[in-house]
Symmetry: C2
């Protein structure tokens, strides 16, 4: 029997709000009986959506929030000014111990800023990285950091490596996860100043399985489970993954429509091709945790459907059951 | 009628040397009558290869070089010690004005180091960037810098933007090329310290068509012609392009072989699919110029075939005819 968990879901966050978050929350409840949900946002909108479904009313609570933070608002200002936005209200519930986790498909910037300033970092954690899973030939790797922590220091990257290892081992279930640092060559002496400083520090860590540098070309092969980099580079990798996969798919489709012969072939391969491309869809890997905070914050893709929101909510139970934050505390304060 | 050009070809460089460079050189001669070639490397090996072909003997010269710099040798040391390697001997020919350009599929590191220290930078050019063309939906964009110039400063990036614009306009033929800086968001206030410093400087340049930030997701769409970034980020983009395209192709093939239905379809779409994937092959975009040097240095992909070497050689004539270096000198010394 697993422990109960209370997850705050941002009912106003994402391209498909409030439909997707409300629908996803109901589905999560119906699939896992240890989950309770607080839907935060405009009460009327939430009630209207909820009226479409059957669910255990005792397990869903609504907390009203009038405002919504848009995708294009400067995050720091938005978090400071919009005290009554779904993100700020929701994160405050986690901060005050009224919930264990916060899930949102809203503005990444606002979620990152709110995570750091409202929920707050675990004592000893210097920075809270955003760590999405990216698809690889072998399954998925954790790309840490893809947040907004630009101009990182080597001590940050070492903490990312440790937190990433704990997450991959305990939440994703990879035994002894391989940790690599993104570099422009495989040799230890290669790299920019940050990588050269970080490499020997990672080598010294006895609590992670550091395998050395990884070149970007080898990331899609799945050669490492935890891919450490500073946020600017992580962001480039994550977004190029999305962009290139979508462009290639588009090109393949265009190619398939170019001759009668290929058009007939296209009809036959459609199901197989669709399955393959789905495996390589970054947005399909569930939510990305913001690690190292006093509570769990999960950023779901902006275009999340109810399925993805449901996944992100269910992911929180694993995080909570495996006591990830306790493990992070133990590991990061030993040094 | 176009002016004569003399190109030094590294006969020992690349996975397919000496076959590919010698064969490529002969083909270039036979296709363009204003090209003369110096093949540099082990005379016996070169003669043996040359004996397979028919060509105008007056237009090919052999310059002997005993040594070869391997892909895994530390570049600075290799350039310093191996005075009689094909790269060092070849670059010295350009330095001393005995040839206009040097083409090699050998060690990128050694070519970058040799370019800076042997051929030397144009006065006023702070750093010589490696600028490959990468495939996009609309054709190709110049990714500048992908070299080994890590930890760049904003003044370097401004020069990259200018040199890249000159190259795209005059060699590739893009009128008023759009220049963008790689960033983690579209807004001016986003980015790391380097990008925030560089952005306003690029905005002030009246001689380039600066269109602002580009997120990595939009690079494959071809939204900009000249993509400016520091070398670490450029290297990640270039190599992820290679890796992801190859992994996706592999996955698509795997998917196509998964059912009988898709196997039949695969036979029908093969030619169309092959053509599409070829368009997105980074190694198929010809050689990457090392810009801003006193002479032209072109790095061809390590796995180049004779076709790619031939392309890289022919590319040099355009560079020379359009007087790219004169244009770089004029533009970079005005400030």
């Amino acid at each position: 029997m697993s422990a109960e968990i209370k997850v705050v879901v941002d009912a106003m966050g994402g391209d498909n709000a409030p439909e997707a978050p409300v629908h996803g929350a109901v589905d999560a409840l119906n699939e896992a009986d240890n989950i309770n949900v607080i839907l935060v946002g405009r009460t009327d909108d939430i009630k209207k959506e909820l009226s479409k479904y059957t669910y255990d009313e005792k397990r869903i609570e609504i907390v009203h929030a009038d405002d919504v933070i848009g995708f294009d608002e400067p995050p720091v200002m938005a978090i400071r000014k919009k005290k009554n936005s779904s993100i700020v209200v929701g994160m405050n519930l986690v901060k005050h111990g009224e919930a264990d986790a916060f899930v949102s498909a809203g503005s990444t910037g606002a979620i990152l800023v709110g995570g750091q300033f409202i929920v707050g970092r675990i004592k000893g954690v210097e920075r809270a990285p955003l760590a999405p899973l990216i698809p690889t030939e072998k399954g998925a790797s954790l790309l840490i950091d893809c947040g907004a922590n630009v101009d990182a220091r080597s001590s940050h990257l070492v903490q990312f490596a440790k937190m990433g290892s704990i997450y991959m081992k305990n939440v994703v279930g990879v035994e002894n996860p391989k940790v690599a640092i993104v570099n422009i060559g495989a040799e230890e002496e290669k790299g920019n100043m940050l990588v050269k400083e970080t490499y020997p520090l990672l080598k010294e860590c006895t609590d992670i399985n550091f395998v050395g540098s990884i070149e970007a070309r080898d990331i899609p092969k799945g050669d490492a489970d935890v891919i450490v980099c500073e946020a600017f580079v992580g962001n480039v990798i994550l977004k190029l993954y999305e962009g290139l996969a979508s462009t290639l798919l588009h090109k393949v489709k265009e190619g398939l429509m170019s001759t009668l012969r290929s058009k007939i072939g296209a009809l036959l391969i459609k199901p197989a091709l669709k399955k393959t491309m789905k495996q390589f869809d970054v947005s399909d890997q569930g939510g990305a945790p913001l690690l190292g905070l006093n509570g769990l914050v999960v950023k779901a893709h902006g275009s999340s459907s109810n399925l993805e929101i449901k996944q992100a909510i269910k992911q929180c139970t694993q995080f909570s059951e495996e006591k990830i934050n306790e493990k992070i505390k133990e590991n990061l304060t030993v040094d």
